[in-house]
């Protein structure tokens, strides 16, 4: 059984990806061997305030127990406490997601201090989305780069007691951060080279990697096969495929 830590619902404005209902998404993931998934809604990426998309997310997953909602919070907005409170009232939460590059704030911003404290109080995990697309293929007018490694490092240094999951991070970025920080895990959808996991494990422990497919932007089957086809010990595969996510998110 696989657990996918990077899935989205909703349409993406720049490419014709399937706009699935919750049950359709759960069925699609199941055909690729994924039994549970942490799901956000693409609408939260572009809306001026993410709650309309989060409401759609909660409604969509209500009858799909395989889909675990991960609402997006924009802590740069003055109402972030209200966003968080409404999300917590809407469903039992395991984590929230932030998109600093799409929501235009730095990871050194002052508002992140109380935000991180609030997550700790609520016992919520944080998924920090580094990127959603290969920068080379973005819509021509969308000049948004991945969150730079020095920014990620600054964040990890600033909040040493928080363990964060970086989604959409490149293999090279994981390896740059690995020697100096132990308070992050990495989702693997944007980690790719031949024998990727085999090459990563000596530099980064399997207990801090988690399967992610970036469905529907990337091929679910292709990304799941990255783990299935990897020549790594069965125990490492089990950790990356499900056990780490189960432990981290208390699933």
């Amino acid at each position: 059984m696989l657990i996918d830590t990077n899935v989205n619902l909703g349409p993406w404005p720049f490419t014709p990806v399937p706009d699935r209902t919750g049950p359709e998404l759960a069925a699609h993931l199941a055909t690729n061997g994924i039994r549970r998934a942490l799901v956000s809604h693409f609408g939260a990426v572009f809306l001026p305030e993410p709650m309309p998309a989060n409401r759609k997310l909660f409604a969509a997953v209500r009858r799909s127990p395989a889909l675990i909602p991960v609402p997006v919070i924009n802590p740069a907005l003055r109402n972030w406490r209200e966003q968080l409170a409404e999300c917590r009232d809407s469903a039992p939460l395991r984590a929230v997601k932030i998109l600093p590059n799409y929501h235009r704030y730095q990871l050194g911003a002052a508002h992140l201090e109380p935000f991180m404290a609030a997550l700790a109080d609520a016992k919520l995990k944080l998924i920090l989305n580094v990127r959603l697309e290969d920068e080379r293929h973005k819509y021509f007018a969308l000049r948004i780069k991945g969150v730079p490694v020095p920014e990620l490092a600054r964040f990890l240094r600033r909040f040493p007691r928080h363990h964060v999951l970086f989604a959409g991070i490149y293999k090279g970025e994981v390896e740059k951060l690995a020697p100096n920080f132990t308070n992050f895990s990495a989702e693997i959808s944007f980690c790719e080279t031949t024998n990727c996991l085999e090459l990563m494990l000596p530099k980064f422990p399997a207990r801090r990697l988690m399967l992610g497919t970036c469905t529907p932007l990337l091929s679910t089957r292709g990304e799941a096969d990255k783990l299935r086809g990897a020549r790594i010990p069965a125990r490492a595969k089990a950790l990356i495929g499900a056990a780490n996510a189960r432990r981290f998110f208390k699933l």
Binding site: D134, F190, N195, L218, S219, G222, D225, G229
Partner: protein, 257 residues
């Protein structure tokens, strides 16, 4: 399912020795890849290698095809900017060696450059298809070196009697597929970038399953991912077989038992 990978660089920053090459053969077989097309260590000397550097790269490629003739087919790497004489000479030298079945072009120049007529002449003379590196220049720019799908399609229209593979489906994107659509001599390989959803289906819909070839860009990408995106694509089993095996076998006249 038997697979042919039309876009690989097993000699990539490593020596073309038996131990190293055997590792790639074993790697490929684990992924059901029964044959690989070796495109050479094309960036070893930068974007515009001279004649001697080309010979060195092509000799390494020839070594792979000679050591594992049942597993590797070679493409001859050329720099069109070296002119007609150098292009024809190196193409002739490679064509005389066993295992060479095509020409590889990288980023020496844009595919619309007038020097491409020399490569077309070599392709015609020695009956070799051309695999042209291509990528959308919308975001990466550098159109002097990079060939936008528009440029590769123009090259195909200028030389309709030459068979051309536009590399990197993910890099050329949806627009690239449409650029290729009206060029029956233009094929597309599926390599390049992360496995973006929907592109395989779009390419099959617009080009037909006969003009889409599986490629991985090994060792830059992961074969399980590049194959998985095709196995997971919403296309028929017959079309999947064409992409993964039949099309490349037919185009390169490979007789694989």
């Amino acid at each position: 399912m038997r697979i042919i990978d039309v876009h690989t660089h097993p000699v990539f920053g490593n020596p073309a020795d038996r131990v190293h090459l055997q590792r790639w053969v074993d790697h490929g077989r684990r992924h059901d890849i029964v044959h690989m097309i070796v495109l050479g260590d094309v960036l070893l000397y930068g974007a515009t290698p001279n004649a001697e550097q080309l010979r060195k790269i092509n000799n390494d490629t020839a070594t792979a095809a000679r050591m594992f003739p049942d597993y590797f087919t070679a493409f001859c790497y050329l720099n069109p900017l070296l002119g007609e004489r150098a292009t024809m000479a190196e193409a002739e030298r490679c064509a005389a060696k066993p295992g060479f079945r095509g020409i590889k072009l990288e980023i020496a120049n844009n595919a619309s450059h007038s020097a491409m007529r020399h490569v077309a002449k070599a392709a015609r003379t020695f009956h070799l298809p051309i695999l042209q590196h291509s990528w959308s220049t919308v975001n990466i720019r550098d159109r002097q070196h990079q060939s936008d799908p528009e440029d590769t399609a123009l090259f195909a229209r200028r030389f309709p009697d030459v068979q051309i593979i536009m590399a990197h489906l993910t890099g050329i994107g949806f627009r690239g597929v449409l650029e290729a659509k009206d060029c029956p001599n233009l094929f597309v390989d599926t390599s390049g970038g992360f496995p973006e959803e929907g592109l395989i289906e779009f390419a099959v819909e617009h080009l037909g399953a006969d003009r889409v070839l599986y490629g991985s860009d090994l060792p830059i990408r992961e074969n399980s991912v590049t194959i998985g995106r095709i196995l997971g694509a919403n296309i028929s089993a017959a079309d999947r077989r064409k992409l993964l095996f039949t099309n490349t076998a037919r185009l390169l006249k490979l007789n694989l038992n």
